[in-house]
């Protein structure tokens, strides 16, 4: 049997390929990016058997996946947790249409916010949408769950969410592969009205969704991913969700005497929960993320048995778990931790040497001196690092696309000039519609679209904006003479500041596009070309 060392993300991708997935759509976002990167590298994609692509945003991804499901094919859509906010509209409606081909939505949460602006727990969304949620305990289970997820999706006519967190996504383990399933044939839904959510149809199908709930609970009780481990010391029962089980077992290498309920599938298995609650004196809940299960168990009145978890201070209310937090919660001793030596100094991430954004911001900082602090609305990408020293150029970053719309709101209220700074990929993700709003109300804002031809922060994925920015802006109604393209290098610093000054003075929407390739993708391209030449030369010599 084939075994490989794979990231959790990669195990999911391989699982989908082996489950006969036909289409994979994604917008990059840490810690989910490596799923689609793996599919894009796979031979199944390269030889044309599997469609895989980066899309404009998570909503377009999700809708494309629904389209693939409509024609009977198995589809995968992946995103980070905040990406699901963008895709929430189709996500909330596809449970009512149901599926034709199996549909799996992988959402990677980021508790402790290693690379995110919040730590929202996607299980709330899954429960909100009333669909099955899988939360693998380890990388092998993540792989194994993919064929099951597709089979269940088709059998129960339900989209399936898989929720993972950073540590599973970005940790490698040895994965044993299972058997490969063939792709589905193209076939239209038998009921041709299934995907028409007119109120008259939606009302009927929503009842079907509600009636499906007991089947989903039954699935959670019987599929085998939720496991009950008997224990002889019933003074305490332990419920773990997802990878929290590993932190528990880490502390009990010789085995554990308390009964454990390991949750890896939702809706919650009612009978299993009833059993542990009835037979144990108290319950301790370990959840990687928000206290979703714990809140449900306590209920509004919280007047049952003693429950320990994130809501009573046994564990911190926020942040990811780790072995020592779990040890303390279990009343075990943890090793005395030596202090970090005082010489150790913080080394925050920074823009790379030679990054075009540095030149863009250096020019902008100079121009903004005349207007004072607090006027630069920014967005999500590498360029958000300009919040930190030494540049300290930006004043806001809230969500994808919010730079343009917040600048417009502020300008509407009289903060003129207001400047938006957004990356090329973020602009096509969620900036275009806001720019149309600004054009339609003739707001006095200047939008800088930093065009480095890539989605940089997540490792240099293809940007949907490349080659299209001027045409998009013009199409949205920005006046041609106020779309200015700059080359952000030191040599042109004076010219660039002049253009910025002029556009800031313009009482209307202006767009400045500083354009230069990301140094990381540039270097990678040059290196790859060099290696290719070297290999070709070596091959020639060998022949």
């Amino acid at each position: 049997m084939q075994k490989a060392v794979l990231l959790g993300d990669e195990a999911i991708a391989q699982g989908a390929l082996d489950a006969g997935v036909s289409a994979v759509y994604a917008y990059p976002g840490t810690p989910s990016t490596e799923i689609n990167e793996y599919v894009l590298r796979s031979k199944e994609h390269r030889n044309g058997d599997v469609v895989a692509t980066w899309t404009t945003n998570e909503k377009t991804s999700m809708e494309m996946a629904i389209g693939a499901s409509y024609v009977g094919k198995r589809a995968l859509v992946t995103m980070k947790h905040v990406g699901l906010n963008v895709a929430a509209d189709p996500f909330m409606n596809v449970p009512i249409t149901g599926v034709n081909g199996g549909l799996v939505i992988v959402v990677a949460d980021d508790p402790s916010m290693h690379s995110s602006q919040n730590e929202q727990d996607s299980r709330y969304y899954g429960l909100f949408a009333q669909i099955p949620i899988l939360e693998p305990v380890n990388q092998q289970m993540a792989y194994d769950m993919m064929p099951y997820a597709y089979e269940m999706s088709e059998r129960l006519n339900a989209p399936v969410m898989m929720r993972i967190t950073t540590r599973l996504a970005h940790s490698r383990a040895g994965i044993t592969f299972g058997k490969k399933t063939k792709q589905n044939e193209l076939s239209l839904p038998k009921n041709r009205k299934q995907f028409i959510l007119l109120p008259s149809i939606a009302r009927v199908q929503y009842k079907d969704l509600l009636n499906n709930w007991p089947n989903l609970i039954n699935e959670s009780e019987t599929a085998g991913y939720n496991k009950y481990f008997e224990g002889k010391d019933k003074s305490k029962g332990i419920i773990t969700t997802g990878i929290a089980y590993n932190y528990l077992m880490e502390n009990y290498p010789e085995g554990i005497d308390f009964p454990i309920l390991q949750i890896a599938q939702y809706p919650l298995p009612k009978k299993m929960i009833q059993k542990i609650y009835d037979e144990c004196g108290s319950i301790t809940v370990f959840e990687e993320g928000a206290p979703v299960l714990e809140e449900g168990l306590r209920g509004v009145l919280n007047n049952g048995k003693t429950i320990n978890g994130r809501l009573d201070g046994t564990l911190p209310r926020d942040g990811e778990l780790n072995p020592n937090l779990v040890a303390i919660a279990m009343g075990l001793s943890v090793p005395e931790i030596s202090a970090t030596p005082e010489v150790v100094t913080a080394r925050p991430p920074a823009l790379c040497a030679g990054c075009p954004h540095t030149d863009s911001y250096t020019a902008l900082n100079m121009v903004m001196e005349a207007h004072g602090d607090g006027r630069v609305f920014s967005d999500i990408g590498c360029y958000t690092l300009a919040a930190l020293a030494p540049l300290e150029s930006i004043n806001t970053t809230v969500d994808m696309g919010a730079s343009i719309t917040m600048a417009k709101g502020a300008a509407d209220m009289g903060l003129i000039p207001s400047v938006a700074v957004i990356g090329d990929s973020t602009f096509t993700h969620s900036g275009m519609t806001g720019l149309l709003d600004a054009v339609n109300s003739k707001s006095s804002i200047t939008v800088m679209i930093l065009d480095n031809f890539t989605t940089g922060m997540t490792g240099g994925q293809h940007s949907q904006a490349t080659g299209k920015l001027e045409a998009i802006c013009e199409g949205l109604g920005v006046e041609k003479e106020h779309i200015r393209v700059l080359n952000p290098i030191k040599k042109y610093h004076d010219d660039n500041t002049k253009i910025m000054k002029a556009e800031l003075a313009y009482m209307g929407v202006s767009v400045i596009i500083p354009r230069r390739e990301c140094v990381i993708t540039l270097n990678a391209r040059l290196r790859a070309a060099k290696n290719k030449r070297k290999l070709e030369k070596a091959n020639k010599e060998n022949n």
Binding site: T30, G174, V343, V344, P349
Partner: protein
């Protein structure tokens, strides 16, 4: 056998290559493996760390518990010290002595090196110079991997094979250079151990 190893360095210094080499060798050796790292924000010149756990029994947690690592391998001295709280009593700290200075307030190098020197179980080597003498400073990370090998207990042949897999597409000369770097690191560590 069971080893918990923390790797520390700066984005771009080849931490993940060290991790991938150990990981590939461990799994080919039929050992259980968990190897976690943080991607994303930390890649832009910030500090990067990876946890590697290998064992003949199932490994549960992706994270090494604080105070329980057998070994810290630093490709940069301050980054090795950054993870000091991970080290178990009696554990070894193995680091490159060459600093990577990309921040204005980098501490006095002598103070950093003195901290390392003060530890009972440490190995500090100039991996950059060793790698440079072998042909490319880029192999400094593999020199550091080599310096950790006597403490990890993996078969050297397995690691050589893993380097072959990981660097194969860059040409045989790159593979050979890295194998040499691996052995140079092992030699340096043995000098200290056999003292």
């Amino acid at each position: 056998m069971k080893r918990d190893i923390v790797l520390g360095g700066v984005g771009g210094q080849g931490i993940l290559t060290i991790a991938a080499t150990i990981g590939t060798a461990a799994v080919n050796n039929n050992l259980y493996l968990k190897q976690s790292e943080i991607h994303g924000m930390s890649q832009r010149g910030g500090d990067v760390m990876s946890n590697i756990r290998i064992s003949s029994n199932e490994v549960f947690s992706d994270l090494i518990p604080e105070g329980k690592a057998d070994l810290i391998i630093g490709v940069e001295p301050m980054e090795a010290l950054r993870h000091f709280k991970m080290l178990k009593p009696g554990g070894w700290l193995i680091t490159n002595q060459k600093p990577f200075i990309n921040i204005k307030n980098y501490p006095e190098l002598d103070d950093v090196l003195a901290q390392v020197d003060a530890l009972e179980n440490h190995i500090m080597i100039d991996a950059d110079s060793i790698a440079k003498d072998l042909g490319s400073v880029k192999a400094a990370n593999i020199v550091m991997l080599g310096a950790g090998i006597p403490f990890i207990g993996l078969d050297v042949k397995m690691l050589e094979d893993a380097l072959g897999v990981l660097f194969g597409r860059k040409g045989q000369d790159v593979v050979d250079l890295n194998i040499k770097a691996l052995h140079a690191g092992i030699e340096e560590a043995n000098k200290v151990i056999n003292k």
